[in-house]
């Protein structure tokens, strides 16, 4: 059965992650070969996934690390890690 655009949209995420059942994947690919709209949607979705994983997005606030390690130092100076047996 040939897939229409809406069917293809349901599979975009798994298509990108390469976790689709091989048969469905083949059908999606047959559709993409002639559908410019769906292939543009997949390309742009993939692009967005690449962009949001970039380290420059959600950067640490200024001096985040300095403050974290200063706070940690206060504890490291006085405390050992707890012995096993105390629940998390």
């Amino acid at each position: 059965m040939a897939l229409n655009c809406r069917h293809v949209w349901e599979h975009i995420s798994e298509y990108i992650d390469n976790t689709l059942d091989p048969q469905i994947r083949a059908e999606v690919e047959r559709h993409l070969a002639h559908c410019e709209i769906c292939s543009a949607i997949i390309d742009s979705t993939r692009n967005i996934i690449v962009l949001i994983a970039d380290e420059r997005v959600f950067e640490l606030p200024l001096d985040f690390s300095k403050r974290l390690h200063a706070r940690l130092d206060e504890v490291l100076k006085h405390e050992d890690p707890e012995p096993l047996g105390i629940g998390l």
């Binding site: 809406r6 949209w9 349901e10 975009i12 995420s13 798994e14 990108i16 992650d17 976790t19 410019e36 709209i37 543009a40 949607i41 390309d43 742009s44 979705t45 993939r46 692009n47 967005i48 996934i49 690449v50 962009l51 949001i52 994983a53 970039d54 380290e55 420059r56 997005v57 959600f58 950067e59 640490l60 606030p61 985040f64 690390s65 403050r67 974290l68 390690h69 706070r71 940690l72 504890v75 490291l76 405390e79 050992d80 890690p81 707890e82 012995p83 096993l84 105390i86 998390l88």
Partner: protein
Amino acid sequence: MTSPATVDPGVPAPEQELIASILSGERDNFHLLIRPYEQQLYRTALALVKNEAEAEDVVQEAVLKAYRKLASFRGDSKFSTWLVSITLNEARGRLRKQNRAPTDSLDSQQQDSRDFTPAALTDWREIPQTALERAEIRALIEDAVAELPEAYREIVTLRDVEEFGVKETAELLGISVSLVKVRLHRARMMLQKKLVPHLKLAAKKDWKAGIFGRLSWL
């Protein structure tokens, strides 16, 4: 996250040694142990509390907890997964205390993917990663993630921002693999729909700036 001096999480041996050294009294090594994970923990916390200062606070508390409970880390998961799960718990606990959890029920946002129409712009497919040097582009992406319903934001953060596998994401959130896949799909489609028109405009501006930049030499 990838400064050359950090411990490579793909190589378990040095990390295990660091942990053993801390437990046998070299406490200061804990600084080295967590340094590679700071941004990851911050992103995790931010996905839940949505406020930079509070996310920072969550990470500090989670890291202190990780230090105190270090002896209970058994190495059956990756150290990063263990740290992230402590951070998730810390953030959730805080939301509960403030009666902010759950902030948004998925039932009210029920959007069946079959009713979903992506942004179908065939004249635009991608902008290069170098565009992220522009604060405006970074803000577009950060805002689009922040505006997702909470359950989708968590999934996208763990899976696509931090790049955990589907199975690890499911374990961290205590939900099934199939639910991770469904939510991830919806979240990605929401981001596509929201971001593509904006990114297309931003890319166009870049192109124009390039042309005018060249013209100004004439």
